[in-house]
Amino acid sequence: MATEEAITEHALTPGEYIIHHLTHLNSAGEKQTAILDLTVFNLDTLFYSLTLGLLTVFLLARVARRATSGVPGRFQAAVEIVVEMVADQAKGIIQHANSCLFVAPLALTVFIWIFLMNAMDLLPVDLLPKIWEGIYTTAGGDPRNAYQRVVATADLNGTLGLSIGVLLLCFWYNVKIKGLGGWAHELISAPFGAHWALAPFNLAMQIIEFISKTLSHGMRLFGNMYAGELIFMLIALMGSAWALDSALGWGLWIGQVLAGTVWAIFHILIITLQAFVFMMLTLIYIGQAHESH
């Protein structure tokens, strides 16, 4: 998408520009170096996911409060289409009507929330970071530390948080449907069969299955959105060649407009598809928790 000038008065190199854009604004005030550090919060991810989450439930609640069984307005009709789609999928995958009462609304939330978080990718990559830089600099901070990442789903914390939430729900429904004993029995008797000698292997396979499901669930969304964001940044870099003020610079600028348009249009598909895939996998994993092996 269109970008502000990538090369600022600080004269960032392209590498620095990318790294700057890929660094989170966190509570530590500097780039997190440890792989896992629970004392740190990514403030930008929290802000955008919370804002969009509240926007999601606000819009949905508005529709729900005014929901009429008569002729619906356009917005209600649009929400109804999504709700019916989710309800049909949930009903098809999860056979327990009682579970559907929670899982279907959960899937709806997941779909719309993730779609909105993904859609942040379509904003110009420099728009919100520049605004934040302005605020941060005005407050007396060093613009080099004015980090801002607007796509909450391009943060592994965001997507893994969701997928671990789904994992916990899987545990909950496993216990609820099969009972603690039933689930424990299933853990050591599937997939290889109920035999004491096979129990450790069964358990190991089950643990691997849960871990891989959760990781792939979170990583799939993260990977897609991270890569998409990165490509938007690379496209934005082309525009920075404007500063060269030569035929090459102008050519690259036109290239940015063309590539940015094409990628953004394609990305509309990706953000919708990834939100849908995440929702479907949520339903499928929770549905599996309802089935006995």
Partner: protein, 156 residues
């Protein structure tokens, strides 16, 4: 790509949002959808019923039209018959009346004729007497031959 507490916060937010949707969003929308589905089903059923009723009504109206036509045709025939009858009656009455008038007229004519003949006879008798008187002035006494004359008059 570093992990931190954002993950746990995101998890909590996720569950709260899902709870909120389940509690406040899902039920009203599903209720509206179900109600609308029921309304549409009812509407379709009503439309079917209406169609059936319309068919029935049009059948009934066609039937009524048919009997009406039959009745009017019958009435027309009756009226025609009655009119013909009235004409016949009038004709018959007129003929009777005409006959009566003719008979009356004939009788009158006969009477007139009779009277005329009578007076003619008187006249002739008077003429005959006058003639005879002129011829036989002397010999014939009117009074003496009055009998004879009236017999003559009778013969005329």
């Amino acid at each position: 790509m570093n992990l931190n507490s954002t993950l746990i916060a995101q998890l909590v937010v996720f569950l709260i949002l899902a709870w909120f949707t389940m509690r406040f969003v899902w039920p009203p929308i599903m209720k509206a959808l179900d109600e609308r589905a029921k309304k549409i089903a009812d509407g379709l059923a009503a439309a079917d019923r209406g169609k059936q009723e319309l068919e029935l009504a049009s059948k009934r109206s066609a039937e009524a039209l048919r009997t009406g036509k039959e009745k009017s045709a019958e009435l027309l025939a009756q009226t025609e018959k009655r009119a013909a009858q009235i004409i016949e009656e009038a004709k018959a009455q007129a003929k009777v009346e005409a006959d009566r008038v003719i008979v009356g007229a004939k009788a009158e004519i006969e009477q007139e004729t009779l009277r005329a003949r009578e007076s003619l006879r008187d006249h002739v008798a008077a003429l005959a007497v006058a003639g005879a008187e002129k011829i036989l002035r002397r010999e014939i006494d009117a009074r003496a031959h009055a009998e004879l004359l009236s017999a003559l008059k009778q013969d005329l």
